[in-house]
């Protein structure tokens, strides 16, 4: 009998130990590194150097602000693009449903870097898209799209869009359409039925989608690297170059710890204000 009770631990053991050894414990070491002082030449010592946090944040405050601004904007645009698309697939997809879903995840079939590089081709100075934008005066006569904040936001929006579409689709798909019919039978207009029934029921998907888009976008440095210039550097770019090139490990560790904390706070505040209702809805559903 005791053996039976131990079975789940044997099953869990190897995988969870891997996650503890190579995810949880490294987090501790990153925190430790963030409190060290010294330089690469003289070596680093652990000295409870709390000033690493304040110094690095004040030194790279503009990159922090930019990361959250770009990621936030990209998340909102992705939501605006994704919601109608998910709605169309869920309610009007018909026999095309699976094909459309396949098209939504298709970007994942190719390498992330190459997808981003493809956008440098699409948005390059002599490209068709930029020509059109010049003609309709969206950018100036000699204006560029590459190496602007707009290009970085466009890249972030594109790359994380599937993470927005899929959860919204999943929550719309589960809606019992009779509820919408009932609202209409009770004299709700299409708009009222959407605002009072459909949208609230899809809120868990919207919350999940916005988180799945915002979190990776805030830490991303690939889009800023390829589509932006040094003036569009995000905090991820600084963390990467401090770790790998400048080798100022304490500053780098302090920055990435701060990023993690800032994202956790942002997520917490967001769930508190926007998501509590949505999450409650989710729980109610699990209860049935």
């Amino acid at each position: 009998m005791i053996r039976r009770r131990l079975i789940p631990y044997f099953l869990l053991g190897p995988g969870l130990i891997w996650l503890i050894l190579f995810f949880a414990i490294p987090m501790y070491f990153m925190g430790r590194l963030a409190l060290e002082s010294g330089t690469l030449e003289t070596g680093f010592q652990f000295t409870w150097e709390w000033s690493n946090f304040t110094d690095s944040v004040s030194r790279f405050d503009s990159q922090f602000v930019r990361s959250f601004l770009y990621a936030g904007t990209a998340t909102i645009i992705a939501l605006l693009i994704a919601y109608p698309l998910a709605y169309a697939i869920a309610f009007r997809g018909g026999r095309w449903k699976n094909a459309l879903l396949l098209a939504v995840v298709a970007p994942f079939f190719t390498t992330y870097l190459i997808r981003t590089i493809a956008w440098t081709t699409i948005l390059s100075d002599d490209s068709f898209v930029v020509d059109v934008m010049r003609t309709i005066n969206l950018v100036g006569e000699d204006g560029r799209v590459l190496a602007t904040g707009g290009a970085v936001i466009a890249g972030l929006t594109y790359n994380f869009l599937p993470f927005m579409v899929l959860p919204i689709y999943a929550s719309l798909e589960r809606i019992d359409e009779r509820l919408i019919e009932a609202a209409k039978d009770l004299y709700a207009s299409s708009r009222q039925a959407f605002l009072r029934v459909t949208f609230p029921l899809s809120a868990p998907g919207v919350v999940a989608g916005t988180l799945l888009t915002f979190i990776p976008a805030a830490g991303d440095y690939v889009n800023a690297f390829f589509l932006g210039s040094i003036n569009q550097a995000m905090i991820g770019n600084r963390i990467q170059s401090l770790y790998l090139f400048e080798r100022d490990y304490p500053t780098a560790a302090a920055l990435s710890f701060t990023l993690m904390a800032a994202i956790l706070i942002a997520v917490f505040v967001y769930i508190r204000f926007a998501g509590s209702e949505a999450l409650m809805g989710d729980e109610a559903e699990d209860g049935t």
């Binding site: 996650l19 098209a103 992330y112």
Partner: protein, 294 residues
């Protein structure tokens, strides 16, 4: 006439919009495929110069690019096998067993998927630096297994939740031992889910740039090679290989979807209800990110 057309557009606005949005999603893939046939004048493959098959014939002609691709494939294969095994065991424990510490286990599985890759990469590198571990293929493998496990758990778990347990009872009633039940009933029905998870783990590994960037040392994977080459201009061969990878993944994906359908038909021995699809649709990709963890 104009009015009729306008009415038609209004009626089908949502469908037209979906078409446009899907076109937008597929646009870069189209560009990559088209530009794999380009014959660029300089080093940069940005403008269309003319059609050529040279780069397709010479796809594996750049030796260090081919080496990087082989490294990526080896890494992805090893990481897929190990992470799929570890993740499947966790999923079985979470769905089939009640035990103390379940919430903590769930938390530990979810949190890596909600952590930006740059933080995961940086944390691992911090640990390797403090212990003075030489970075290379092994550290990459450790990292790839780590970020794949959570995704495997999510996919296999969704399959297990939709599992009709009366089939196992039936097998036992007919005199099958627990091991026979597992081998002949549980495992075959679970297999499409496991294969979907393996496919996802493979895709995550072969696609990963950020975490690998931090922990690669001298090892060069396909994405790392591309990143290194970006300054000098990316050779057309990269576009060719990307197109090939895309085609192979698309086929593997179609195959898994087909397998899943077949398993569902197999499981649907009761005439009334076919076994319900895994929550989140028939796709072996969960509503969670390639880039959250990979």
């Amino acid at each position: 006439m104009v009015r009729a057309a306008w009415n038609w557009v209004r009626e089908h606005a949502l469908v037209i919009y979906a078409g446009l949005a899907v076109t937008y999603m597929l646009l870069p893939l189209f560009v990559i495929t088209v530009f794999s046939f380009n014959d660029p004048a300089g080093k940069f493959n940005y403008t269309w110069e003319g059609f050529t098959l040279d780069h397709w014939e010479n796809a594996f002609g750049i030796s260090d690019l081919t080496d990087a691709l082989i490294t990526s494939l080896e890494l992805a294969a090893l990481s897929t096998v190990i992470s799929t095994a570890l993740g499947t065991l966790i999923a079985i424990a979470l769905v089939r067993h009640e035990f103390f510490g379940r919430r903590a286990a769930n938390f530990l599985i979810v949190i890596p998927m909600a952590t930006p890759e740059v933080v995961i990469g940086a944390a691992l590198l911090s640990m390797f630096l403090i212990y003075g571990i030489t970075l290379g293929f092994t550290t990459l493998l450790i990292a790839h297994i780590m970020f794949s496990i959570s995704f495997v758990v999510v996919v296999v778990r969704s399959r297990l939740i939709g599992f009709d347990r009366s089939l196992e009872e039936a097998a036992r009633d007919l005199g099958a031992s627990p091991f026979q039940t597992f081998r002949l009933v549980t495992f075959p029905l679970l297999l499409p889910g496991i294969m979907g998870a393996a496919l996802l783990a493979f895709a995550l590994s072969i696609d990963d740039f950020v975490i690998s960037n931090f922990n690669s040392g001298d090892a060069v994977t396909f994405p790392l090679w591309i990143f290194g080459a970006a300054q000098r201009g990316i050779p057309v061969e990269v576009y060719v290989i990307a197109t090939m990878l895309f085609a192979v993944t698309a086929l593997a994906m179609a195959f898994t979807v087909w397998q899943q359908r077949r398993a569902e038909r197999l499981a649907a021995v009761l005439p009334d209800e076919p076994a319900s699809e895994a929550p989140g649709g028939p796709m072996p990709i969960p509503p969670a990110p390639g880039s959250l963890g990979g």
